[in-house]
Symmetry: C2
Subunit: 336 residues, 2 copies
DNA sequence: CCCTTTCATTGAAACGAATCAAAACTGTGA
DNA sequence: TCACAGTTTTGATTCGTTTCAATGAAAGGG
């Protein structure tokens, strides 16, 4: 029942283990006759290489880790796809962990990845992990931050300019005549949320007659959004905002559900709504959602490329902060 | 730069490697004074256990593999979450692979998982992998099929009765007076698709005056659905179906988009639409989608439990085919 | 026919952690 | 002081693969 090893293969084929290894790794070094005999033995025994042993010998794995804030968010699945495709091209595997916006789970995944001796880590951080990442780098495991710009210039990052994106979203709302803006998002400890809000505040400066209300949520999920939407719907009409900027599309979808429950508040007539990420479902929502598009797969593939470059460069690697521009996508939810 | 090993820790602490190992794995066997010295050395050197070495020694990993048809489908992310939660409780890790409905990628992931000596595999199969799975079982790696019932009674599976679900969906359409039904889905090689269609056919038998048209798609994605929806929209009105059953919600969302483009065909007035899976976005669609709900997280956790049980039972394990009942969820898209 | 070169093949050593029988302690009672 | 029973600690061995210096055999040159 226990699986066959090179030793068994070697014995059956009547060669040494070194030769079996050569057949596996440097077939050009081995004569045709021997190769055939070894192959036959491999097939007969159902030999499968033991990755743990290879890795132990090699000292490093052929994997990289990826920790995302929310594996159910299509933005991150797209990002992961981009990273995986790029990794596959280099014969690397991506191990995906879901921190669920929880610093504890994030740390647990980093532990795991260190124990696996991954080549590097792509991270969309929750807590303040910079000290931890510096420690990991000292141990030879580099990190590239994804979906948020590194404030520490010694780290590479691939992100979209969330400040500009937030500004863009609110400027758009203002340009359609809205004045009582609400920002729905949280927790503020998450950098993307903070930046998008900061961008929103910046846009507000251009309209002194407009007001910005901040409505905090527990997480960036449809459920949190629905709760926020319902709370707004239940307010007296006069106290409702006339436009909502949601920190991501999941929230926006939830807000929309919350607002429309029981023939509620019409969107965009009474309240305009814009999200962030432009996930595939945004266009398919009850009221097609305006959003700020991020090139998710491109972020993933670019980050992976930077990571592998940093991992393989002996020294003198210069970290890069790649910033893609966000793009406003206007749909029915913000039409006048 | 290369990381420290137990040997280094032992040297610094002035003890043997065996003692370091004991501190790590059986702290109760080691005196307080020594434990403290070893801990200090571990911290000082930044020692991190090498998983490859542990695994090699142990002979088996602490992971299970999961191969899904489409990692971007919320149904599967939910299923994965269920499996991961259950696995975490048993101190196991889940490695997720995305076959993307491609038999080649599926096989590649199975290869990878075998090399990693995973404890077992959860699989939502594309091709005919049964022979392969039997081979893996002989090598000590059991499989549990997810989201489709095993036709081979020697395999465990956790699924929803897709035949009943398909029947339920079409029976519902018929009960609202629809008569020209279309099934949108594919490829038919995927068992879930075939079963849901078979269920649809079964329901048709109760209504001799109704017709069922099958519209094949390349894949179970929003994009494929949109193409199908557009094709239907472009037909002369008389040749359009009056109800559509989409093989999953992603398709349904796409069909909806395709139908409604350029102020197209009204749903449900002219065409009713029902999907399958009841993903979170179904309720949030332009026209909230009726659907057949599957308990996705429960499928994942149940499958993981069966898998671990099979993996740890010496012999005489009796495979089980768990079948959950589907549930009809009626929303606006099929209202008369 | 011997010497050199080339080439395929060998086999021991390494990777890092876990195990476990044996050794080294400790303290107790005689 | 010694025997004995516990308790700690030791260190050689194991896991499966890769690597690489060494070996052997065959081919080519003089």
């Amino acid at each position: 029942m226990v699986s066959a090893s090179v030793k068994d293969v070697a014995a059956l084929a009547g060669v040494s283990v070194g030769t079996v290894s050569n057949v596996l790794n440097r077939p050009e070094k081995v004569s045709g006759e021997v190769t055939a005999r070894v192959q036959a033995a491999i097939d007969k025994l159902g030999f499968v290489r033991n990755d743990a042993a290879r890795q132990l010998r090699a000292g490093m794995s052929h994997s990289v880790g990826l920790v995302v804030l929310d594996a159910a968010n299509p933005f991150f699945t797209e990002l992961a796809r981009g990273a995986e495709d790029r990794a596959a091209a280099e014969h690397f595997t991506v191990l995906v962990g879901n921190s669920n916006e929880d610093a504890g789970r994030e740390a647990a995944y980093l532990d795991l990845f260190e124990q696996q001796r991954v080549r590097g880590v792509l991270l969309s951080p929750v807590g303040n992990v910079i000290p931890r990442l510096e420690q990991m780098r000292r141990r030879g495991i580099p990190t590239v931050l994804v979906d948020r710009q590194a404030d520490n210039p010694s780290f590479s990052s691939v992100a979209v300019d969330d400040l500009a994106g937030g500004e863009m979203a609110v400027a758009h709302l203002l340009s359609t005549g809205r004045r009582r803006i609400a920002f729905v998002g949280g927790p503020e400890g998450i950098r993307q949320v903070a930046d998008r809000l900061a961008g929103a505040r910046k846009a507000m400066e251009t309209a002194p007659d407009a007001t910005l209300e901040v409505i905090s949520t527990e997480s960036l999920t449809v459920l949190s959004g629905r709760a926020a939407g319902e709370a707004i719907r239940l307010r007296p009409a006069a106290e409702r905002p006339d436009a909502i900027f949601a920190a991501n599309d999941l929230l926006a979808v939830g807000v929309l559900q919350g607002l429309m429950l029981m023939g509620g508040v019409p969107v965009p007539d009474e309240i305009a709504l814009i999200g962030y990420d432009d996930i595939e479902f945004a266009a398919a929502a009850v009221v097609p959602l305006s959003s700020i598009r991020q090139p998710s797969a491109l972020i993933g593939s670019t980050a992976l490329e930077l990571l592998l470059r940093e991992a393989s460069s002996e020294a003198g690697f210069v970290p890069r902060q790649v910033v893609f521009p966000p793009e406003l996508v206007v749909r029915a939810s913000t039409r006048a």
